[in-house]
Subunit: 403 residues, 2 copies
Amino acid sequence: MLKHALPDLFPVAGFRLGTACAGIRYPDRRDLVVMELDHGSHCAAVFTQNAFCAAPVTVARRHLDSGVPRYLLVNSGNANAGTGRQGLRDAQQCCELLASASGCAPAEVLPFSTGVIGEALTVSKIETALPAAVAGLADTGWGDAAHGILTTDTVPKGASRRLDIGGHTVTVTGIAKGAGMICPNMATMLAFVATDAGIDNALLQSCLENAVAGSFNRITVDGDTSTNDACVLVATGRSDLPAITTADSRYAMLCETVEEICIELAQAIVRDGEGATKFVTVVVDGGMDANECLQVAYTIAHSPLVKTALFASDPNWGRILAAIGRSGIADLDLAGVDIFLDEVCIIRGGEVAAGYSEAAGQQIMNRDEITIRTSLGRGNVSEQVWTCDLSYDYVKINAEYRT
Amino acid sequence: MLKHALPDLFPVAGFRLGTACAGIRYPDRRDLVVMELDHGSHCAAVFTQNAFCAAPVTVARRHLDSGVPRYLLVNSGNANAGTGRQGLRDAQQCCELLASASGCAPAEVLPFSTGVIGEALTVSKIETALPAAVAGLADTGWGDAAHGILTTDTVPKGASRRLDIGGHTVTVTGIAKGAGMICPNMATMLAFVATDAGIDNALLQSCLENAVAGSFNRITVDGDTSTNDACVLVATGRSDLPAITTADSRYAMLCETVEEICIELAQAIVRDGEGATKFVTVVVDGGMDANECLQVAYTIAHSPLVKTALFASDPNWGRILAAIGRSGIADLDLAGVDIFLDEVCIIRGGEVAAGYSEAAGQQIMNRDEITIRTSLGRGNVSEQVWTCDLSYDYVKINAEYRT
């Protein structure tokens, strides 16, 4: 199964979610999500690196600088991007509306938007729907929220773990959305992860940054980086685990779980990539450093020719080879390069492997989850990225997106 | 008309072309081309920068180092790439066969192959067809040769000029092929240009390199660089123009015409890009240097989201804006950025231009030739690249290429 069903999402004490149908783009669809952080929570976030970042990203960054937020406010259907000064006023006004409905300061609200770029946000629709979302706040609201943040996604995406740290149960739960305009850095479009662990703010931020580096920043659907990407990690401190204040073994355990959650969410985004029919792990090992491994991996993962061959289940390894060749690695010795499709070696030392047959390659290509592994044979560093194929439906979805 | 008909191709004295049907991939299709250079000709060439270059590229480079070639031998249908040591032996053997059929040395033959990667070249088919190609050598053979080098191209591509240099008529004629796996550097797949001007070898090489920089290295269909790209410029010296031996005004005139021919051929490749329905010129001006202009231009030209919006004739300028934003230009001041679709200004100072309407954008998008112009507002350097849209047919052609 390429796409996984939404797993059980464990509540996180001190973190409540409420949703409503605001009719921002489609009627009768959950498109407004409010998330509430208990007093005493900490919050870390990373945002898109696109220079044309959307208005809510600008406002969220500013509000985060001024202290720990009490609320996250998300709308889907409209990205409020490319909307200039009016867009900033609209994002600010959304914060003010939630602030007055909940009794916090406007700067304690972080706004997030996802959807079509370049259209004005209809704030009045959000104003009308906000009370229902606030009234519905509950720690069991993760599933509805996972639906509420979707755009062209076909399935909701969530991941959840309970772990034991020194005899105390800690929960980590997250949701994400994203199906197109997906590429590092910050490829998530939107992801929200919460834990009831208590943890120092600086540690929380580095925990998030490390997790994102190995998860959301290792996926690509189409090489396009969104204007609205954001990933938020909240720690409510409501578990009975004593607060984590140093980078000790408890911190390492929490970080590991947060990264697992992020990888699961990131992979779910690729599995639901626009038009995707295959989930592809691109591994590059034997490199001299991480940069060159990633350079080769992304060149393969972004190649329209490789991606259409994957869609066709065609073991056209020549296209993989051509992608490696043009990836710009200095002094690459072809005689050291091996390429595998899952367990089948297709290229050994830069040439077709002895015993390789088209039938063997075809058998792998018929699978809907495939690993393309390239060994550069010049070092011992390894990296991997996750991607999907390029299908008719990718073109269809993106040609018809606004019609 | 997106695709242009093959124009009249003037013969170039001292350069003869012959073709034959070798049945390399399809029966009854011209797929073998022999080109003969008169004694006393000079020959310049540039090749793919893909590290996995094909066997014929390796052999052609080596033969070119040993002196001026007498023959160019081209086959379509099979790229002889990713074929290892056997591929090198096959390319070498093709040279030997033509050498013995024509009475030159094997090192005086440059081999070129284009087509599917990773399959062994059937040299026996070329051996059988070679005599017919050699027997048919004629200076009127350009049109047949333009057909003979095609693969997924739907139309033959040629350009031809006669110019007057100091009272002497000089002819420049060229043909090219290429429709997929098209990206700098050396995006041509294959292009052959000949002139009857006499010219010093070093000048000829720099003439070619300059022309390629402004033409074949400014186009992209899908961002993939072929393993087989090559562009050859032959000067036979058979016109009555005294040989050009210094970089004087006559040289400048010749270079200008060679570049015009190369631009016309390069644009013809994009117009015939796999599945292309639109020809798009991406201009970036107001940059601080050529690199940053090209960086922005290629980010726009490679964006699958921009390309599918073009296919849908959707003035979804948010995708152009997002591409500019992620192109990695340091300290880009959005307030200085303007974007135009042909004559219509859509973004002024980073925001939707006053008076811009969706209808105005739609009117431009309905055209089949469109210029996207971005002004960065931080310098006076300008660059342009040419590309096409991303359509269902691109996916179809590349998913079904080997079936």
